[in-house]
């Protein structure tokens, strides 16, 4: 292929990227439309929308939820971070900046966003999501901001093994920190996060994970959730996926916080016998969705929303993929009888 043609194709590909990006977030614009062919050039481009955030805050970091097996102190340490700026993602010209909630938890005195150009602006918190460890900030300025922002990846198409770069602007806002790795798993945290073996540390939280096209696949969060090394790399790191971020951004932009996940509750207990077919019910919690729908002890739940169940764990996984107040369909075997019920999932009662 002649060099001229190649360049034309590259330009075309570049404009396609641009078109798709505009379809999702109308206000993100890519300054250069040529697909980079070196890692250096790719990271140079991506680096334009990776920002540093200086946060002045009190040590009164709230504990929004409990983690089984973690003490309050351990948890508080998780939400603390070492001195120095945090990393964030500049979303658009309107000055929206996304970061990990844990970078800004507690009573904030002031926040400044330092752009890749070196310009810095005060910012305020618009809204936060406990569930996905996201905080949305907005730069407060009358100046016009650079036309930089991420191109989003279709994270529903993420595959284990895809190469990722993790970028940060901590501890030095002037310089990008880059580590590389692969997508380790595509659907952690109930399908809302990805897992990566890219080396993620405190400074990465709130920073982007981008693919070989420079597209935003996920935002690093929940870094080092495994004890006792909160915030330190183990080769097991997490990022809230692009699909999740795109889904919650409108709500966050509207200034509405998102609370912790409310696990939906069916109200049956079973054993963890892995083999056999379906989920055998050992106990039905009084007053629960299952009780109201008439599920009984010794029933075997065969199907959940048309999905054939392997075992009780499988049932639990599918319940957790639903929302509170969602109506589900169960196919139940009771002796020789097969019946269908449609309970509405509720919240877990206190004490369970």
């Amino acid at each position: 292929m002649r060099p001229q043609t190649w360049k034309a194709l590259a330009l075309l590909a570049g404009s396609l990227l641009l078109a798709q990006a505009s379809a999702k977030t109308s206000d993100s614009v890519v300054p250069d439309s040529v697909v980079p062919e070196t890692v250096d050039a790719l990271l140079e481009r991506v680096g334009q929308w990776v920002v540093a955030i200086e946060v002045e805050r009190n040590e009164d970091i709230p504990l929004p939820f409990q983690i089984r097996g973690a003490s309050a102190n351990q948890l508080r340490n998780y939400f603390k971070r070492p001195a120095g700026p945090a990393t964030g993602i500049l979303l658009d010209r309107e000055g929206y900046v996304m970061t990990s909630f844990y970078n800004v938890a507690g009573t904030v005195q002031s926040m400044r966003v330092i752009l890749s150009t070196g310009n810095s602006f005060p910012a305020k918190l618009i809204a936060k999501s406990f569930r996905d460890d996201v905080a949305l900030l907005r730069i407060e300025t009358n100046e016009s901001l650079p036309e930089a922002g991420p191109i989003w990846a279709d994270s529903s198409k993420s595959q284990t093994g895809q190469i990722l770069f993790a970028l940060g602007r901590s501890p030095d806002p002037d310089r990008l920190t880059v580590t590389e790795g692969i997508v380790s798993a595509t659907r952690r945290n109930g399908g809302r996060a990805i897992q990566t073996d890219a080396k993620l540390n405190y400074g990465n939280a709130g920073g982007p994970l981008v693919n070989l096209e420079g597209r935003l696949v996920a935002m690093a969060s929940r870094v080092g959730h495994t004890q006792p090394q909160w915030g330190l790399n183990s080769g097991v790191g997490f990022g809230t996926s692009a699909a999740t971020l795109l889904a919650i951004l409108p709500q966050l932009k509207a200034g509405k916080d998102i609370g912790p996940f409310r696990p939906p509750f069916l109200g049956v207990r079973g054993n963890r016998n892995p083999s056999g077919k379906g989920a055998q019910v050992r106990q039905v919690i009084e007053g629960s969705a299952a009780a109201q729908a008439g599920v009984r002890v010794d029933d075997v739940i065969r199907e959940f929303n048309g999905i054939e169940l392997y075992n009780f764990d499988h049932l639990r996984r599918l319940i957790f993929s639903c929302e509170v107040n969602e109506k589900i369909r169960l196919k139940i075997q009771r002796g020789d009888q097969v019946l269908e019920v449609a309970p509405i999932l509720r919240v877990i009662p206190r004490g369970l």
Partner: protein, 447 residues
Amino acid sequence: MIAYARPGVTRVFLARRSFSFLLSAFLATSSALADSGISELEALRRLERKVVTAIESAAPAVAFLEGGSGFMISADGYLLTNAHVVSDKITNNVVQRPERRVFNVYLSGGKGFVADLVGSDPEGDVALLKLRGNPEVPFLEFGDSDTLEIGQQVIALGDPFLIGSEELFIEPAAPDYQPSASFGIISALHRNSDTYLDAIQVDVAVNRGNSGGPLLTLDGKVVGINGKIETRFQAGVNTGVGYSIHINQIKRFLEPLKTAKGGVVRHGVIDGIAVAKHTSGGPGLPVTRVKTDSPAHAVGFLQGDRILSIDGRPVRSLSRFKGILGTYPAGEEVLVKLSRGALTVELKVVLLEPGVLPYLGIKCDTDPQGGARIIEVDPNSPAGRAGLKQSDVIVLLAGMKVNNHKELDDYLLMRLPGDVLAVEVLRTGGPLKLEVRVAGQTGPEPD
């Protein structure tokens, strides 16, 4: 400190601005291909396709055991894992004989099975299980670990921190039974770490829970079992130093494991020789002593021989000597090449369990009519369990005619603990055919 990888020091930021130097595991591919006129990113895209494809093909065969990982090796349900995944007991870094026999196993995606322990190799930290119910399951193909090279890119699959099989998230989420993949390179070969005598060292992120999971080459074939990591200060997270048991070792143990009936398979040694700690500059490793009347003596070892190679693998140190032998089960025959003065000598040597002699549990004399007459049977011995009785006369052992009790002893010495032998005896009323499984008994140590 070594931690079994049911459990890693943390790596800190190393890379900053110099992007061209940071691509550790990707570097080989990207720079090599960049030379051939392909762009750096195109090289990485090609690598990515290989990695994605390898993981896609291998992931369905990954198993989640309670407390560790494993992988299927046959369609009818054989599964490999670490011995320390099926046995919690570890003393002096040696995994003890498993006490549990039955395990819950989940394949990628969450389909569950019950599996039985078929056999374990505690010294090598390998266990073989089989799923009940003759299922049809996806499985991994074996690669050839002898062809591995330092720097070669590899993938680890498994369940670090049990995040795919337990509820460890900040928010409640049921286990998703999706294995975790991590990518890196082979850091070293032939590593010696406690009972891992010939391990592959990798920089792939491996953590607690990865134990028993497969190490894959980019063609999706399994070349090792990830079993241990180096860690300090009880950090319990990956340090960039992990050890895998190579698959060619495991291949040699597979048949003994399959026939172990839930028991233990032992590693083999050259019974009756002592070797020097150092090569002292000469070729090979010197044999310092040969025990009179030992199996090694019988096969022709002489004091002063220098061991050049075992099965073609050069012996350049005591650790390689142990490393090579450590990859063979007792009962395997190896070819030992020796330097003896100006000569080069080759010996075929059957490896034996350390200090163990074949044992039946009978005392015999010679019957006047020919054959070995049993004068005493230990009821809790292989002979007792096989139904041999006092006054029985053994006339045939494993197809060989027994004329007197000396011959019986000689024939038995040619056998190994674990062998099942056909025995024909004369008992009042006529001939009788029985089967006896040879056990081991501690014999005299080399002096």
